[in-house]
Point group: D2
Chain length 300, copies 4
């Protein structure tokens, strides 16, 4: 490990094929899609429980998965069993789950503030929800590529896969429609931000008739009152990367723009958007305190 | 000058009060608002022509100006004469103009792609246009402030004054309504981006009934066919800061998202968003070649 | 606190004058020089112990202090009592100390690898030791200044106060001469590095006659064998900011360059270079485990 | 070209093998070592003149080259003919040269301030010259690698190949000894700096007996009085990246540190350290004005 991270402890690393699946309680998978599902099957057969950070079990419909990721789904029989691990919205399904699909980082930042509003009927379905998201460069992975080269990324800023073209789109739409019905539409514009870590999503939600900014705010406050890591910010405060970097917290700011509700939603893509949420899910799977090993919760 | 910019020539600088207004043809004002208008009056009285980079002459209605900037407008009598210097849309008014109001950097990035569409009736008025803009930190000025301190800004990203709360909002709405009518509405969300220079605005325009992505694209291509600095990018290409940094060019990318047109619009806030456009305006005021002194034009 | 650091807990802050000095055991002073000494006197009189992070008690000679910092030393009577808190070299003096002068960040990075070698006679005195140091921008303080403005600092790199002109120079020379004798000379070249945090000092030490690279390495390994936060890196490994950022650790790499020993010495200027070392000193003052509250120690 | 640099003109690129060597006057080679020499032979045989930006013709001794770069030198017969293209020191050899070896970026920053002093006998040979150099990340090339990944490089700073271990070391030592004799020694410590472009070398030169700071300064001022791109800075001013970025200029600052002369030497590794110096050499090869196509010269 120390060769990769000079500041870390000198742990020996082993290849995935050498992992003693039968000797552990739970396996965290950070593998490319398809490879993840195949390894998950092995781990489950060896008696371990699995938290998968790939996309393999996030999309419930194998056909949709195959349309976005290509090939044939490696383990369609597991799709029904897999629990979508957006912790605050997974409910009791996490307890005792054998297989958890840890959500994407963009998806977590977009879904946390929108699902409670969709479930409550606060969003007008005539227009698409717009999610304008900006992600730090660790979101693009550690493999060296030209667009993540320092000289390309630094002083740069660009959009990519805007509209309905990004692989996290079907995952978000699926979860949104589970709460808000099949009429929900989403436009999602990811951007590559020259920082190491953090996602800020700026969301534009058309309020449903009869709904006001104040009611929407009350809905979100109630939804996350007891959530240790999701904070609806005080009135007038916008979410920023500084709220969440290096923590498992998510910060949500709400702005009244008349018939449009503007939401700023921030999290650290490497923590609440990945490893932190995975650990939070493990805590829930084992009925442990949800906050164990995760550092600061939101501040009262 | 060299004390401020070690790489520049060693020009002596003089205080505004010592400027020999009567000896020059044209004065470029980069002063705080209110101070700019007062100095513009002096310069005009001395026989010079004025290109003002402050907000003082951008907003045609003195009451609106005062509501956003406070105080009493220092020279309301000049408001009618001032030409709004969004070069590509100022038409013949620039030629011979005595006083030009150089547009704001955000405003230039938002107005260039939207004005031709509004003028053509391509935008549905039932919904607000959404402009999600991200600006490099030079946009916040050179005066040291806590939020522009390296340690605060670097690795940071935040929204501010979202909705209809930023001072460039009335300027943009004014110009939009001049083309698209009083029904036009705008939601504008500026963000502070940890790069030195460049603005990328991601715009969401609801298409009017009967309008398609393809028609909107044709409208913009036609509008800027002969504009040396405004480029509508090839199909599928999104605008990025890399297209425009250190040039007077503006890059506009169009994405078909069904009933919503997504536009990415990029410029360098210090060039096309400020000094470059000022020079472009001067060229037009004096019936010179519009591109003089401005480096690369768009590439054919 | 939360207004300053959105991610932190919402602690109320009080003005220095309102601090209940008589109710606390120990006071950490992060005040400008001169103000620090005056407040230290108050705190000591109120019965508290003091860890001062300013320069006021680092320089043992009031005349030298006054030559570098101007004015008259505010509390010269305390200079004899103050313990120079380079923890690993303060010995038993820390235990029970009433007043500790926490070293400067540059000084800590330069002194940790050089003091054991000077004490052992490993350094030739005919030439100056050269310390070429590079510090992240938090080292320049949080007060907004032009040279710490993002647009000035980003993409920038510059030296300042090179030679014997920086205020940390007398502090370093004092400690070096205490170990190596009055013949020790030091050239110190600080540089401003466009990162938030971290110092890397590259040191060039002429080896004394009879001394080899290998002996010098053995001397440093022995000196820090039991130091929980100071790590002499494995052969061939150079110290970098990645070794130490966000930790109280110091990393020291040694390179054999014949008669010159090249040392790379890294620490986090905000932790081992400031607050972390202060806490480490407090632990020692109260005979607590030296590592309490300080996170990871060096890895075995 | 535009696929690589969105802001550039849309030039078609061709593979090296398709280059019409016989149809051009001069060929600039930016190829890996060994490949460069082989292509140089082809170009020369086709009648073109060659400016090679690789290391292949910088080192005069084939054995030394092979020790550092491996393999067998691909064209040792050309080594005698090749002119080392440190423009200001190549003298008349450039005029009419068929083959120019463009110096390395680090080498240019170190040699410009040291060669005149070595030639004048100003440097004591008992000690090594120390060059502590810091280079922006474009110096590591455009090929994606882990250590140039944004997330690794940003907020990072590290030394590498310190002492006498870097491939530019033999090139520098060769040129230094040509002026100062075989007794010259050099310690060179390169560092990777988290900026796009620019090198700052901080040099420590022991003055020879009888030499003073003032004489050394006079020597350098005289050496570069007529050099359009090399500026010896005013007394008290240190060189910084801001002096030279995006220009072909080199800035040299001198600091009196007693028997040690501290020199700060800055250039842009992509311009004076590479393409700019190549163009400057071409101008000289064809007896053109040396400054053609190179933008600002130093300011009077």
């Amino acid at each position: 490990l120390r060769d990769l991270y000079p500041g870390g402890p000198n742990l020996a690393l082993i290849a995935p094929g050498e992992a003693p699946m039968g000797d552990v309680d739970v396996v965290f998978l950070c593998l490319p899609h398809a490879a993840a599902a195949a390894t998950a099957v092995e781990a489950l057969e060896a008696g371990a429980r699995v938290i998968d950070l790939s996309a393999d079990f996030r999309i419930r419909d194998a056909g949709t998965y195959e349309a976005w990721y290509g090939g044939t789904h490696p383990a369609p029989a597991l799709l029904d069993e897999a629990v979508y691990g957006l912790t605050e919205h997974a409910g009791d399904a996490l307890e005792g789950a054998r297989l958890v699909a840890n959500p994407g980082c963009y998806a977590t930042s977009v879904l946390l503030p929108t699902l409670p509003l969709l479930a409550a009927g606060a969003v007008a379905l005539e227009q698409a929800i717009i999610a304008d998201s900006k992600s730090g460069i660790s979101g693009a992975g550690r493999k060296p590529q030209l667009h993540t080269h320092f000289v390309e990324a630094n002083e740069g800023f660009s959009a990519y896969a805007v509209g309905r073209a990004h692989r996290h789109h079907p995952e978000m739409l699926q979860e949104m429609r589970l709460r808000g019905g099949s009429g929900v539409d989403l436009i999602f514009s990811p951007h590559l931000l020259p920082v190491e870590r953090g996602i800020l999503s700026t969301l534009y939600l058309p309020l449903a008739e009869g709904w006001t900014y104040r009611q929407a705010r009350a809905t979100l406050l109630a939804a996350y009152e007891d959530a240790p890591f999701v904070e609806v910010l005080p009135e007038g405060e916008l979410a920023s990367l500084a709220h969440v970097q290096r923590s498992n917290r998510s910060a949500i700011g709400l702005t009244d723009a008349g018939r449009t509700l503007i939401i700023t939603s921030a999290l650290d893509n490497l923590v609440k958007g990945a490893a932190g949420q995975a650990l939070q899910n493990m805590n829930r799977m084992y009925r442990l305190d949800e906050t164990l090993g995760l550092g600061d919760t939101k501040h009262g």
